[in-house]
């Protein structure tokens, strides 16, 4: 029998000014999966994209890795990173580009037995579509998620919004 409604908003941040990062902390362990929906641009003055740099539990150890697949309107490609000190949260559009829509799904985030896998869909209509599976090689429950600007000095632009949802299984 159904166990009741879920997929609940936990927190939302909308930037009133350019910032280096958006952080969700003290995430309750009462859900099964987490979903983050991010929409916005970086302050980079270009019209292309850069990768978001993100961390879990404020952990800067080389415990992150990922495998991605992307299409740019001409070709489909695949790549990966390993033993990284951050995970790539998808592409973020530069200031004059189409705003980014990134959806991150953190699977079974609060169990303390398995490493944590996450699935990301990154959509920049003017330039690229990408999907990624990522791994955080830690058995710790995820309590903090930091979404950061791309490399260099560019920030997340004013108006960027990120919402954290929780999904609880029966």
């Amino acid at each position: 029998m159904p166990a009741g409604a879920t997929y609940e908003p936990i927190a939302t941040t909308t930037l009133g000014s350019a910032q280096a990062s958006i952080t969700f902390s003290s995430i309750p362990n009462t859900y099964t999966d987490l979903v983050i929906v991010f929409n916005g641009n970086s302050t980079n003055s270009g019209s292309s994209t850069n990768g978001m740099r993100c961390k879990l539990n404020s952990d800067s150890s080389a415990l992150y890795s990922g495998t991605n697949m992307a299409g740019n309107g001409t070709t489909a490609t695949s790549g990966r990173y390993s033993a990284s000190t951050f995970f790539e949260g998808g592409e973020i559009s530069q200031a004059s580009g189409t705003p980014t829509l990134n959806i991150m799904q953190f699977m079974n985030y609060s169990n303390t037995t398995t490493f944590k896998s996450f699935l990301i869909r990154s959509n920049v209509a003017g330039s690229t579509v990408q999907t990624q599976v990522g791994l955080y090689r830690s058995t710790s429950a995820i309590t903090t998620i930091e979404l950061s600007r791309d490399f260099g000095t560019n920030n997340l632009a004013s108006g960027c919004t990120a919402t954290l949802y929780g999904i609880a299984a029966a």
Partner: protein, 183 residues
């Protein structure tokens, strides 16, 4: 407005928490070959299955197979687009005996692949049932990511979902959770 799965969660202002409900969850305490959700109520518009899986096959990159209403006939088709960290590839299969999510299951210790699967309009008896799914498993230097679609060439309402692996059984801590999305 009901919210559907992977993409529609972007429509934050339209999210109605009561439209998305947990129906049932299987979390394995021992290695198991099959995970089944049966007697699925017809009270929703769409279904979503979310979970983490690992196989005891001994090697990585095995697919997740899905049967509907215990039908093992050659009544399914499926397509996928996948990336392996170096190349992207596409595949399609007709007259199969299951739907399929490509390369979804790893075997390495502590690493579980993630899956998010949507079954659309699953109670409609006027058309065949379609599925879309996102699956991936990264293993720090190896791994696969895949987009998947599936078709069950039957107009019956879906009441049972059966999940098996292309090779091996689901190991302990594998979990699949079934949700209903109201229309």
């Amino acid at each position: 407005m009901p919210i559907l799965g992977i993409l529609a969660s972007a429509i934050t202002n339209n999210l109605v928490a009561t439209s998305y409900e947990s129906i049932a969850t299987t979390t394995l305490g021992t290695t198991t070959a099959t995970i089944t959700f049966s007697s699925i109520p017809a009270t929703y518009k769409h279904l979503q299955v979310r979970g983490i899986i690992n196989t005891n096959a001994g090697t990585n990159n095995w697919g997740l197979r899905i049967g509907l209403n215990s039908d093992t006939g050659s009544n399914y088709t499926h397509h996928n687009l996948r990336g392996d960290g170096a190349n992207s590839n596409a595949e399609g299969y007709a007259n199969e005996s299951y739907m399929y999510l490509d390369r979804a299951a790893p075997t390495d210790a502590n690493i579980f692949g993630g899956v998010v699967i949507d079954f659309l309009d699953y109670t409609n008896t006027n058309k065949y049932t379609t599925m879309r799914g996102l699956a991936g498993q990264d293993r720090n230097g190896a791994g696969q990511i895949s987009f998947n679609s599936g078709l069950w060439m039957n107009t019956a309402a879906v009441t049972t979902l059966t999940f098996t692996l292309q090779s091996g059984s689901f190991v302990t801590y594998s979990q699949l959770a079934l949700y209903g999305i109201r229309g």
